[in-house]
Symmetry: C2
Subunit: 380 residues, 2 copies
Amino acid sequence: MRIIVLGGDGFCGWPTSLKLLDEGHDVLIIDNLVRRKIDKELGSNSLTNISDPDQRIKVAKAMIGGNIDIVNTDINNYDELLDIISVFYPDTIIHFAEQRAAPYSMINSTTRRYTVDNNITNTHNILSAIVEVNPDIHLVHLGTMGVYGYSKEFGDIPEGYLNVKINSTEKDVDILYPTNPGSVYHMTKSMDQLLFQFYNKNWGLKITDLHQGIVWGTQTEQTRKHETLTNRFDYDGIYGTVLNRFISQAATGNDITVYGIGGQKRAFIHIEDTARCVALAVQNPPSKGKVRIFNQVSEVMSVKQLAELCAESYGGTIKYVDNPRKELAENDLSVSNEGLKSLGFKPITLNKGLVDDVKFIAEKMKDNLNVNNILTSPKW
Amino acid sequence: MRIIVLGGDGFCGWPTSLKLLDEGHDVLIIDNLVRRKIDKELGSNSLTNISDPDQRIKVAKAMIGGNIDIVNTDINNYDELLDIISVFYPDTIIHFAEQRAAPYSMINSTTRRYTVDNNITNTHNILSAIVEVNPDIHLVHLGTMGVYGYSKEFGDIPEGYLNVKINSTEKDVDILYPTNPGSVYHMTKSMDQLLFQFYNKNWGLKITDLHQGIVWGTQTEQTRKHETLTNRFDYDGIYGTVLNRFISQAATGNDITVYGIGGQKRAFIHIEDTARCVALAVQNPPSKGKVRIFNQVSEVMSVKQLAELCAESYGGTIKYVDNPRKELAENDLSVSNEGLKSLGFKPITLNKGLVDDVKFIAEKMKDNLNVNNILTSPKW
């Protein structure tokens, strides 16, 4: 297939692009490299050294083979996006091109507005361009489990749609899950769902929305093939995801900092599974009908469990700090991931080999770690 | 009270501003006058002659008295918006500053993208500025009945929230009504709801969302006070609302053009009631708690009923044309408007005096009517 990966230079986008290349697809990455710029803005950094995009592409072609390229542009430039889609004429577009950190979206009015304007305009530009160029293109979007919220009010978490009885009519219907986002970032993903719903209804677009859990790990089968292909690894309070932060804290002799009492149960997925799930969705486009929503998750754990696991395995002291986020101190969670499983997904669960892999990287790169970046989350 | 009216030069915004002025409030209008520019773009026009904004303000001060002013700026300029709110320091902000025509939003990718970018950025800028300047400001937003969709699937239309039983838990809950917008424009109002929900939850903002029916009429008690205060009157296929279009067609000897079989039942409200309802919401801000949603409607009629009424009263032939919109050919509709009634709203229903008022204007201004503008709706 011919596949455009929007945001293909990022933490999830890059390993997914390589996975698709490895499976024999022709891949065109479009990225404005803003994530690299935000590192400069925040004074944060990837723990791993990440190569220049052009270097990455050169080595990917040499080590994996096939067709891959990158265009450095911002898809808020609609005419440029339209030109690229018209010329490359993809079967599938994968959309990672959103500001993806909840804490970043909650720093101040500038980051709030950037997150809303960037994410909504990008998602809508893509939909509008698909209508114009070829309504048969399959759009695969990376959503988030965070749209559901984490209360048990609506029971176990289904995949995108909730079965309810309308009390006034006594009819059973499936409705789009009533979202309860916990940050401006998560709110934009809830808004994306309404864009997808309407473009699917009015123009029949084929859309897969993958509500992903919290990603951990850094390397995949493909990024390990050469140092230049190494994926980025965030450990800071803004972009670092919780398990990666814990492992790097433990590996570098720092306290493991848990927000609140760590009673937040969350769904997790290894970066290798991110790439595999997206590839599965691409290979199996949805039939006509409503937007297809899958939960892209491997297992559910509490934050406290993760911290204890890291402390036991690698030493380090757990330090409980005030939770900067407005969220429940404790919650139960049960999530369906039957959709991707039905396509053949076999989740990788937390295992020592993979955790050791992350620890190895954290130890090896410990000179890159700036302790001041660990507790940088804004309070909201 | 000190009130900012965003979009206060428009069809609903202008008579509402005058109503609030007449009730003794201090009114500051902010408007980028884009609606006047769109007339030039489309080659459309208001049937009535509308005066320059500065003239309107001058005459409003003379005829009604009190404090009213206008600033010509675009609130997508956040810093300017922030400055104005900080200096004027309003108790209430009323938000009419959105692209408001479903047909306009469906013309092409440029108008689709303009509608999304303009409406979402504006709504979010306002919310973000309220958080920054004074979270106690009451935001009153003009939403639309169109967010509900017009199927009977969910029973009679309640006010914003729907009572359902979650089948997996057997618990009864009120959820935000699962929206089913029929155009890109209506979709943006559905997205606005998610912005309101989150800003209310996270920062406790006081928000009233008024889901308005289709407005008809043109003059109000205040706009009648002087020719310079006359409200705009759209009769074209893009911005003209259905009853106004029918009356002006009948009054000028043209066919009354009904989309499809006219079986669409819709909720209607006279422009005088728009101003009265907004004034009621302003005078009675919500207590803390979730977003307050009212249906701002006076009565339900079918499009065919309206056409027949116009044909009987004023002559003219009804012509049924292909419906350019994707919507049900026929639907039933029952809408609650208890919220505004509980604040004292007494709906004006369709009556001969008011219809004659519109007819008089249409006849008097018939030289302004360009027949080519009547069937200009895009197909979607």
